[in-house]
């Protein structure tokens, strides 16, 4: 399948003597995970459509170190951080956008002390700013009247107090935003954070993603919107477990916007 995505790398930009408006940090999930790659592409389509000058690090990007840090391996985290900072500073990166709240939190909060000072924004905030500036327009319609519930990623919400940008975007789609009983600062984790994504859960009587999926299903949604590739995986698994794939979709905010634009 070939679509014409324009994805310049920082190296190519530098060769042309150009500095992009924003560096798109794709993240490991966005680069390798089949489901998350679709989110990456949806976001790039919007960037292309809105004529945003951006670039990725491509093969020069490496894990931010988030899962290593949350697992307790501070050495590995700081090794990763310092290597990434060397690359980012080499390109004189100023502004970074990412679709992964874990990369977002680490780059924004934990890199500055180690020498990496950037303006870091989550893709939902970036999309919101494109809308506000009139660089992106959404024609509702496709989602009109659809019930969409938003699952707050912990590292976007509680960790960094970003609650409104994703909700504003959903409202712009003319969709009915329905809240779960536990939302925003009271939101329940999907179960993936703190490196849990990469291990089995401890013994208990339920998986966390099932508990959270039940929260979401209580709102009788057509779509569960997510803003994190890991939450997306957990909620998708939850929906499969509940055998509701046919009537409930799990989609990233970027995918919602891209679909609304027929991208």
């Amino acid at each position: 399948m070939s679509e014409n995505l324009i994805v310049p790398t920082m190296a190519e930009m530098l060769a042309q003597g150009k500095q992009p408006e924003v560096l798109f940090w794709v993240g490991c999930a966005g680069s390798f995970d089949d489901r998350a790659k679709k989110i990456t592409k949806a976001f790039v389509r919007i960037l292309n459509r809105s004529n945003v000058s951006f670039a990725v690090l491509g093969t020069e990007e490496s894990c931010t170190g988030d899962p290593a840090k949350r697992a307790g391996n501070e050495f590995l985290f700081q090794m990763q951080a310092m290597m990434n900072i060397e690359v980012l500073n080499g390109y004189e990166a100023k502004k970074i956008v990412t679709a992964c709240p874990h990369c977002f939190n680490t780059l924004k909060n934990e890199y500055p002390e180690l020498g990496g000072q950037y303006e870091v924004i989550h893709h939902t905030e970036f999309l919101k700013s494109l809308l506000d500036d009139g660089r992106l327009t959404i024609e509702g319609g496709q989602f009109k009247g659809k019930r969409i519930t938003f699952h707050d990623p912990c590292y976007l919400g509680r960790a960094n107090n970003v609650y409104e940008a994703p909700r504003d975007l959903i409202t712009k789609l003319d969709a009915a935003l329905v809240e779960m009983k536990r939302s925003k600062a009271n939101g329940l984790c999907c179960g993936a954070g703190g490196a849990q994504m990469f291990k089995d859960a401890e013994n208990g009587d339920k998986e966390i993603n099932i508990e959270r999926t039940e929260d979401a299903l209580e709102t009788a949604p057509d779509i569960i919107a997510a803003g994190c590739p890991f939450c997306n995986t957990m909620m998708t698994d939850g929906i499969k477990n509940k055998e509701r794939e046919s009537d409930v979709k799990v989609m990233d905010i970027a995918e919602l916007i891209a679909n609304a634009q027929d991208l």
Binding site: M1, L5, V7, V26, C28, G30, S31, F32, D33, K37, G58, T59, E61, S62, C63, G65, P67, A68, K69, R70, A71, G72, N73, E74, F75, L76, Q78, M79, Q80, M82, N105, K108, N109, E110, E113, L114, C154, R158, A159, N160, N161, A185, N186, L188, C189, G191, G193, G194, A195, M197, F198, K199, D200, E202, N203, G204, D205, K206, I208, I210
Partner: protein
């Protein structure tokens, strides 16, 4: 009149406060067993936090029922304690209702104390029901077995006794104020919207007996207050004092920001420095203690984490919002705080018993109190931190202990070791080649 009463009162007061300060000193000493962390920046934000969260109880009302009941007891406690000033002056100088000269103001004050006392009794009954009749899940969980459960009830009983004594004291006083022609030093003072309804119980008793009772209530009330004050150190109720410093010194950074270990930064910088001499001898400092990565015992935690442990009042909001605990895992953030405090107390007692030096007791916070299974169940979602009404961070303790497990003991669960090996080898938590990072573009 002899001064015996006043001297006795002064002695009781001195013992009460003296013992209390000994306890406070001990808490201070124990908290200072922790490592250093600088929490003096941005005093403005810190004072604001203290004013809003501790003084203003802003996070309590996130759960409205418990929040409002708590505010009643809190305001009752603070306001009624104004009365304590009068009691102390009366006791020391043999006066009676020394502030009575304030006239109307005094009447309003006494009246409001009485109304608050009743409201406190109502709230305390509601609290007691929540623990013992309704049995809310967070109050009957296994964390609270034994002393913590009794402690919570004892505090409520204390409040009932103190409020009842306060009202009886006023009722008997009013009874004597109403004796036609006056009785002894019982001048007409105060307004008694509540105890006027209790007063009739003294009808038919001789004035001498009522006076004896009145003085008895007065003495038991003030002694009760002193006992309660000294009970704090042995109880979760310490939060009424420590909530203030705890909110002042709490973390001000974004909740998602975990600290970067400076000791690690130094080593990583050395590793990445192309000019570093790989054969250079380590700098010699005979006094240097080999630094330990992460925490296995209370002395490895910082003093704010230890202050957190003493501040925790075991309300369990953290645990009831914890995704791991909600799904039946062993982790309970409240237990993390209680274990930290209990171990710190144990270490403190060890130091007391050994003339100021800690003699290793072959125990540690890790394993003897908190198990690896609990630590690995955490999703680092910050729900516990967000919930805590006094800004305690169980998460920071969990993370420091994970650091010890991983960096000192290489004791991570196998799948996490695989994840970390992948990051080391190919810059991603999965086994994909870094050179394939941009393949999605053409797929």
């Amino acid at each position: 009149m002899s001064y015996l009463d006043n001297i006795l009162f002064a002695i009781i007061l001195a013992i009460g406060f003296g013992y209390f300060f000994v306890s406070i000193k001990k808490i201070r000493r124990n908290i200072n067993l922790g490592t250093d962390v600088n929490r003096t920046d941005n005093p403005k934000a810190r004072w604001t936090n203290m004013a809003m969260i501790a003084l203003g109880q802003s996070k309590m009302v996130r759960r409205p029922v418990a929040g409002i009941l708590h505010i009643i007891v809190y305001i009752g406690f603070v306001i009624i304690n104004i009365e304590l000033l009068e009691i102390i002056i009366d006791g020391l100088f043999g006066t009676h209702r020394v502030f009575a000269f304030l006239g109307t103001t005094y009447n309003v004050l006494i009246a409001s104390f009485e109304i608050l006392a009743v409201l406190v009794l109502v709230a305390v009954f509601a609290f007691w029901s929540r623990r013992n009749i309704i049995k809310l899940k967070r109050f009957v969980s296994s964390d609270l077995k034994g002393w913590p459960k009794s402690d919570a009830n004892y505090i409520l009983y204390f409040e009932v006794v103190l409020m009842t004594l306060f009202l009886l004291m006023n009722a008997s006083d009013l009874h004597l104020q109403n004796v036609p022609g006056g009785y002894g030093h019982f001048i007409k003072a105060g307004s008694f919207p509540v105890s006027q309804f209790i007063e009739p119980i003294f009808n038919g008793l001789s004035n001498e007996l009522v006076m004896l009772l009145s003085e008895g209530f007065w003495w038991v009330h003030i002694i009760g207050i002193l006992i309660f004050m000294n009970y704090l150190y042995f109880s979760k109720h310490l939060h009424i004092l420590l909530a203030f410093p705890n909110t002042y010194f709490a973390n001000l950074n974004a909740q998602g920001q975990f600290d970067n270990l400076q000791s690690v930064t130094n080593e990583v910088k050395l590793m990445m420095d192309p000019n570093a001499d790989p054969f250079a001898a380590a700098p010699v400092d005979p006094n240097a203690v080999p630094s330990k990565f992460g925490a296995s015992d209370v002395q490895d935690l910082n003093w704010v984490q230890l202050l957190n442990a003493y501040t925790c009042t075991e309300c369990g909001r953290c645990t009831s919002s914890c995704p791991a605990n909600n799904t039946g895992k062993k982790l309970s953030p409240r237990k993390i705080m209680m274990d930290t405090r209990d171990r710190l107390e144990e270490v403190g007692k060890n130091i007391d018993a050994n003339k100021g030096v800690f003699i290793p007791d072959n125990k540690s916070l890790l394993n003897d109190y908190i198990t690896a299974e609990e630590l690995w169940a955490c999703t680092s979602c910050n729900a516990c931190v967000e919930e805590c009404p006094v800004n305690i961070s169980p998460l920071s303790i969990i993370m420091d202990m994970r650091r010890y497990l991983v960096m000192e003991q290489s004791a991570a669960p196998m799948p996490l070791n695989a994840m970390m090996t992948n990051i080391e080898n190919n810059g991603a938590p999965w086994q994909y080649n870094q050179q394939d990072r941009l393949n999605w573009k053409n797929e």
